[in-house]
Symmetry: C2
Subunit: 406 residues, 2 copies
């Protein structure tokens, strides 16, 4: 364990609060169909009010409300049927006192009317005469022309990823292109003399296929980023620095999954330090201690531990919020979670964040441990729990919040 | 309100349990980089064990464990340093009794050794001699060749959408193509004389832009489906049936967002009934009562209410699980949720599921109501809560589970 590793060690809370690059991806207009989960750079405003006309919310008859006052089953009001409103068309008739006009749900309120009485409270007792058995107040059975959205109001707020219903509201307003932040380009660099590409059919003794890059690419995609798997660098001094110089100009974030031995960890730090400033080297998290955060000319660089499980744990906690922030979103969307009862005691060190993979069955969270941090643990886990920094452990039987994988 | 609408009305529970089409999308191999959230049709099996060799989990020295028995600070064991293992290479040396070989984290255990002692418990007191101050048990400091995954074991289970870490494990195993269910093709048909495309710049009085199709497309995408916005059909009798005949052959699921008036609701039922079997017409849910579920020659058809908010509420609850099931996933991934305290009383009818949009602030869930079900409510909501079918309401101050939008 190198002493240097802890030269500028930080807690995860410090990293989340303090390592906040100013960089944001550029803003471009994209078609609505491509805007799901993209982040508007500014509030998207309604050009016109919605629905844009006084609209019936029921099937019934447009009336002057005063003509229905006092109407009851025993003493109905009788109104002259003056015509009908057709869906999607401007009414051709006006409601005169003592008259009414048939109107469907969604139809335009005709001039002269100020309410719609529901068809359930009416009957056409004679052709051309509508009996009304309940009064309706002015404004009843309709929405105002700007009741859904006023002109100039925000259809979708800046900084929050667009959700499916937002796309509906934008479509309703005729906004078919939205200015959103570009997807952050995340260059993923793998290092290690032992690491070979996933499509290597036969491994030589000691070789391992690059697992971390594929998994990181998935996490980046989930966070709205654009992963660019930049290949594998050997542990030769200088090779990583050369690779970083190549990928930095076309990246919004660079992630380096380090070799797993002490020497290669230091090589990552040396290469990054040659191109920028180390913000921290060592994170008070288990697993994931040998994490590095740096700024290379305005591009954030995350150096991850060599162990794939540790790398993914750290990237989920520290890297994913960075990807969202680069796209203009300060608070990443919520992750699914569940409460469960812890099946056994968990020890931890005060000041260190412990991330524990768990299975959840019938409300019980069972920690998954192995002799070492193996990747298969993540595939078997339903989620993870966090032993927070101040705690020295968690007791069996206590209630825990488990973040669920999806 | 037509009597027919409730001819075969069902509860949401009945619909979820009973409307389960047998159809599944075909299985195709896709590259790993395109497999995120896709559903394997069968367990993906490991062709070989992982890591594939006995691997050191620490930086240290490969030893015969027996040579370290009894070692302590006061009485160290002294071992001959016979060489070093290089990352990614087969060891060139064998550990003879009384000897040791330097090995990095991730290195291959050399023949003859059965444990690795951590570098922290060693010192090179003289060149070529390693002092060991702690004993190590056989198997200490290493993982077996099949400890992460045994040959033939499942890397990822059938029926569960692949997550980012799964991609890592598959990459580690050299599985670079995965047989997964095709994305369900979901045809989205809008109806209504008043409905015009979202790119309509100027609306005539009474016209509304098609909001539902864009929002449904987003929900379909979130559920791993491939939305195909199939356009707007007028309320003319026969027009919907003609459109359905066109889209059914190329769809795994058809969604019709109905016109909002009584007449158009019946037209949907007539058109669907002409091509298949109505499973239910009317769902005990608020909002969303005028929902229709049908089977047209093995293709499920969902008829949604005309109101966009109602349509989205129903599709989220009933349609999204269908999309997942068509792709071979019986249990959709979990949604984010939070517990909150309800700010006011909510009335409901027993036997009916009520879906209430809420804002959540400081642990308090505040229902969002308007004079009618407006689309903007969804944009302002943080999520929704459900008043379950047996309940007649919820009391202010009770704890509720809010499903959060993301």
């Amino acid at each position: 364990m190198s002493g240097r590793e802890f030269f500028t060690a930080r807690t995860v809370s410090e990293a989340l609060a303090g390592f906040r690059p100013a960089r944001r991806t550029p803003v471009r207009a994209v078609p609505l169909a491509a805007a799901l989960h993209r982040v508007p750079a500014a509030d998207v405003l309604a050009p016109d009010p919605l629905p844009g006309f006084v609209r019936s919310t029921v099937d019934g008859f447009a009336v002057r409300a005063a003509d229905t006052y006092g109407a009851s089953e025993g003493l109905p009001s009788y109104l002259d049927l003056l015509g009908a409103v057709r869906m999607g068309e401007a009414p051709a008739v006006t409601v005169a006192p003592g008259g009414c006009v048939a109107v469907p749900t969604g139809g335009v309120l005709p001039a002269g009317a100020d309410a719609v009485v529901m068809i359930e409270y009416t009957a056409e007792t004679m052709p051309g005469t509508i009996e009304v058995t309940r009064p309706v107040a002015p404004g009843g059975g309709l929405v105002r022309a700007d009741e859904d959205v006023a002109a100039g109001a925000a259809l979708a707020p800046a900084g929050r990823p667009l959700r499916a219903p937002d796309l509906g509201l934008l479509a309703a307003a005729g906004v078919t292109e939205v200015p959103v932040h570009a997807r952050p380009r995340v260059a993923i660099v793998s290092t290690g003399d032992e690491v070979v590409p996933p499509d290597t059919a036969e491994l030589a003794p000691g070789q391992v296929r690059d697992a971390t890059a594929s998994a990181l690419a998935g996490l980046v995609t989930d966070a709205g980023g654009e992963p660019e798997v930049a290949g594998i660098v050997t542990d030769d001094p200088g090779a990583l620095e050369t690779k970083l110089r190549t990928v930095l100009p076309a990246a919004d974030l660079v992630v380096v999954s380090a070799g797993s031995s002490v020497g290669t960890r230091d090589e990552t730090a040396d290469a990054v330090a040659a191109l920028g400033t180390l913000w921290c080297h060592g994170l008070a998290i288990k697993p994931g201690k040998p994490t590095l955060l740096a700024d290379c000319g305005g591009i954030p660089v995350v150096g991850l531990p060599g162990n794939p499980l540790s790398a993914l744990v750290v990237f989920r906690l520290v890297g994913v919020p960075l990807v969202w922030r680069l796209a203009g979103c300060e608070a990443p969307p919520p992750e699914p979670s569940t409460r469960a009862v812890l099946s056994r005691n968990l020890a931890s060190a005060a000041g260190r964040l412990d991330v524990v993979q768990v299975r959840v069955r019938d409300g019980v969270a069972e920690p998954l441990f192995g002799p070492s941090a193996l990747l298969s643990v993540l595939a078997h886990a339903d989620g993870y729990l966090v032993v927070p920094e101040p705690a020295t452990g968690l007791d069996a039987g206590c209630e825990v919040e488990v973040t669920l994988y999806r």
